[in-house]
Subunit: 300 residues, 2 copies
């Protein structure tokens, strides 16, 4: 099968109560593709400026990520996000967003990607997400992510994309905002009635819940003793999830459950260090070992 | 085996955003014993006033709960707690507490209970909890619960009890308060170093985590669409948990995992109605059916 990821490749400046990291590598597409690269060869569609480090490009290539859809704008500057985490790593504040080359990003799916089996629309403007549907030929699975900003500022465009999508990754707050329902279980079910046949609810330190027409599945989070930087955990989850599905080539309820576990496994690693650092040392056998830990954690 | 529960039998006045329920039946001991009665014949140690309804006594008897340790104070008034829930059922405010006969409660373990295999000290003054250890003969398992009030007002007495206890039921906030550690995994492990060999962390709508010296186990909560009244959910969890262990008669890591699931099952029922109402219609086959739902929910 094949997986295509559309999203951002960015610089992040991260402040935690202890440390400040200036212009490290971030972006939804980056995290997602790196996580997926443990299972398959994902292709990305994104844009960066000329200031983007060649050594990161080399690292992405080394991880066998297909960069034919990565546009480098001559003289342009890469998207830069700056955020701060409080004592509670679940609380994040955006301090500054410099869209730079992302401002005029109109994702174009390269000819080589048009027959992608799995398409992931990471968080970008829902109008851009919608346009991508016109550029691909019937993927077996389409998935998306979004953020509160779009739910508030472009609710209609977002609903149009939700009606077309198969699988939606979201957190508690986003599902409550979209459906207007406080109870998470009702909210999840209401969301399925909008369009997606699967909702993957990411609950951070509380794990994940999967809603589908016929069943619910839940898993607790990996018991992380140290959360260094939660940035990118959601995209990394999506990358592990979709990468695994692409690898096994079967989108069945059973494989979706396992995909949730692989998503959780990948996210549990990435928060152990800043930005994409953890991917630089992470081995496939580490991934498999932690999958087994999840098995022990959840079996009764 | 045999299970003895020491705690409160009370009246609760509950306010939710929609409904107010005046002087319904509550109390940690009541919830816990009723839940345990689906698995074993628990004995209780508690006190009520003469105003306590005979029909409730009859109901407890009908559920085959051993009431030899229930003291009825002539002319006395039963403990009365009044609380209010916000739109978020996890947020509770105590409006009023009338200790009444509970003020002078000095739990006495009846001779018939002294050889209990499992002893549960539900939330009461840690000085009283400590005294109970002098009254029993080496239970196979001792378990306890507490609340923030005692962690703040009697930290030393509480630590003395914690050092003697085998199993501690607590929520996130309590474990963080006791250990002074924000990260829940570190906090849980630090708590084990105080004394208990097992910590059952109740996370409400996010499920439960069990810490023990050799392993961690986690389960998500039952996907409740309607939470009518969360009062007593924690005690009901403890009742299902300990009742199951008493029934199987083996306190092994494997049975502890299953006990967590039965605890979760029982708690998931009790929040569907006010006070102890749900126990009036709940059948053993409902319990078993929901255990199977949990299995489907958690298997990958």
């Amino acid at each position: 099968m094949s997986l295509v990821i559309v999203g951002s490749v960015a610089f992040d400046t991260i402040e935690t109560p202890l440390v400040r990291k200036e212009k490290i590598i971030g972006g939804s597409c980056t995290f997602c593709a790196l996580a997926a690269s443990y299972f398959t060869r994902p292709g990305i569609v994104a844009v960066v400026g000329e200031d983007f480090p060649p050594e990161t490009i080399a690292f992405l290539k080394k991880r066998r990520i297909d960069l034919r859809g990565l546009k480098i704008v001559p003289g342009g500057k890469t998207f830069h996000w700056q955020g701060r985490y409080g004592e509670d790593p679940n609380h994040r504040t955006t301090i500054r967003t410099d869209l730079n080359v992302f401002q005029d990003f109109r994702p174009e799916i390269p000819a080589a990607y048009k027959k992608a089996d799995i398409l992931f629309l990471a968080n970008i403007d829902p109008d851009l997400q919608e346009n991508i549907f016109l550029q691909v030929e019937k993927p077996k699975l389409t998935a998306m992510d979004t953020i509160g900003l779009w739910i508030e500022s472009k609710p209609e465009a977002l609903l149009r994309v939700l009606r077309k999508i198969d699988l939606f990754f979201a957190n508690d707050e986003e599902v409550r905002m979209i459906t207007g329902e406080r109870n998470l279980i009702k909210a999840g079910q209401r969301l399925l009635s909008i369009g997606p046949s699967v909702l993957v609810l990411k609950k951070g330190e509380h794990g994940a819940l999967v809603f589908s027409r016929d069943a619910l599945f839940g898993i607790v989070a990996y018991p992380a003793e140290t959360v260094v930087d939660p940035t990118g955990a959601g995209d990394t989850f999506a990358g592990g999830f979709l990468g695994y599905l692409d690898q096994v080539g079967r989108i069945t309820p059973r494989e979706i459950r396992r995909a949730v576990v692989y998503g959780s496994v990948m996210a549990s690693f990435i928060i152990e260090d800043f930005g994409i650092e953890r991917f630089k040392t992470l081995k496939p056998r580490d991934v498999q070992a932690r999958y087994e830990v999840f098995k022990k954690l959840a079996t009764f």
